[in-house]
């Protein structure tokens, strides 16, 4: 089959949406970027800011892999447009460790083998950080329930719960 590039049809070209410049503080660093309104915070992080630690698992708020902290609260970054977050402070998995030292949750996830393939892990970690900050979970049942917005298809749930308990205990002591 001969390859023929399809000609652009006659008629008007429909312009791409106008970009809007926004400012975010991402992992402590000020970032400015121009994005069209239809760009989600997730795609802004991954495809525009090069922060690919945050994962896309469904793009519909069904799996939690894209969980980040916005102004300290855990949210699904696939379910918000970047322009809506203008001025926000965003923490991604890349921002959890401080000065080369792993966040207690990151260390606990390694210690308890709380992941296998790793594609839900960033979301689990940010979600767990949000969970601890919320202070609404103390029992195992409460941790399980309040971490149920983060699917793990490798089935690491018991290890995830154990890791979160370890991090909570470290924080208390």
């Amino acid at each position: 089959m001969a390859r023929t590039r399809r000609k652009r049809p006659n008629g008007q070209t429909i312009p791409a949406p106008e970009k809007i410049t926004i400012s975010l503080t991402v992992n402590g660093a000020p970032r400015e970027l121009a994005v069209a309104p239809w760009v989600t915070l997730l795609d802004a992080l991954r495809e525009r800011l090069g922060l690919t630690g945050t994962k896309k698992g469904c793009d519909h708020g069904q799996c939690g892999a894209c969980t980040v902290l916005v102004d300290g609260r855990r949210i699904n970054s696939c379910m918000t447009f970047a322009v809506m977050q203008d001025g926000a402070k965003v923490t991604t998995v890349e921002g959890l460790a401080r000065d080369g030292t792993l966040h207690p949750l990151q260390q606990a996830f390694i210690d308890h083998d709380a992941f296998q393939c790793g594609s839900c892990t960033s979301g689990q970690l940010c979600s767990a950080a949000g969970l601890i900050a919320e202070g609404r979970a103390s029992t195992v049942e409460e941790i399980r329930e309040l971490m149920s917005g983060n699917l793990c298809r490798c089935g690491a749930y018991p290890n995830i719960v154990a890791a979160i308990q370890q991090a909570m205990e470290r924080q208390r002591s």
Partner: protein
Amino acid sequence: MINFQYARATDLADALRQIAAEPGAKFIAGGTNLIDLMKEDVERPPRLIDISRLPLREVEQTRHGGLLIGALVPNSDLAYHPLIERHYPLLASAILAGASAQLRNMASTGGNLLQRTRCYYFYDTATPCNKRTPGSGCAARYGVNRIHAILGTSDACIATHPSDMCVALAALDAQVHVAGPSGGRTLTFADLHRLPGTTPERDTNLAADEIITAVELPERGFAANYSYLKIRDRLSYAFALVSVAAALELEHGTIKEARLALGGVAHKPWRNVSAEAAMRGEPANRATFARAADAILRDAKGFAHNAFKIELARRAILRALSQAAAGTPQSQSVKKIR
């Protein structure tokens, strides 16, 4: 997702001006349902008006002893608000039964009221759906309909309303404050959502240029005897097959006031005031509750895959009312059903 314009509303008047200016424009607040549907090409608004920064985030006590909840109060903030926890634990429990912690952090009070059905066909633009494309037909009626409605259905639509929070608000007799171009108005909760009838494309009785500003709760909170019981296909993060908001006021074992609302069974949170009235003055026991269940489910009608919901709802009503009467409401984290 189509190309759309985006603007942030500076105040309520600006929001109303903007929505009136462009047919098809939509407000966006939490975005958790609208963005989902835009990605599926089900919602195609040419313009989004971002209202998320309007000052509608307060929870205030009213002169009548109730609460006025700003439309932009996030679901999680509302569930954990001390006044809600203390006086309206049914509402707190229902909110925590829905979605995930992340989504509850994003979703707004007003947006929760306006979320759209989870019907598979509504979501899939390759299939017929009267709600999405009026006149195209209802594929669910003779298709995969395990999750669909058993009450208040029409030939045109058998979709359900997916909210948990709304089931509690319906039971609590909440009111919805709305602003529009010609001023404000207040709707009873029962008047907010519609049955599908021949116009399933309309979920609510709000006009396209109106905005929800607040939800008002009356004084009566049923804090002593309530339960929100949600039955679903997994133990969390799933929509209800059937959910029950039960609230009682008891006096020496006799029912003084009763509220009963169902989720997952109809196009709107389902209440039946005569079923509730029949409980008043009766002893708070299973016989009374069974009569109430029979009354509220009298006209229930199942389809190929969801007929089980009728019996499930009956049992869930019995259980939730029993939990409420005993003062042992269902926990949303301990999964054993009390």
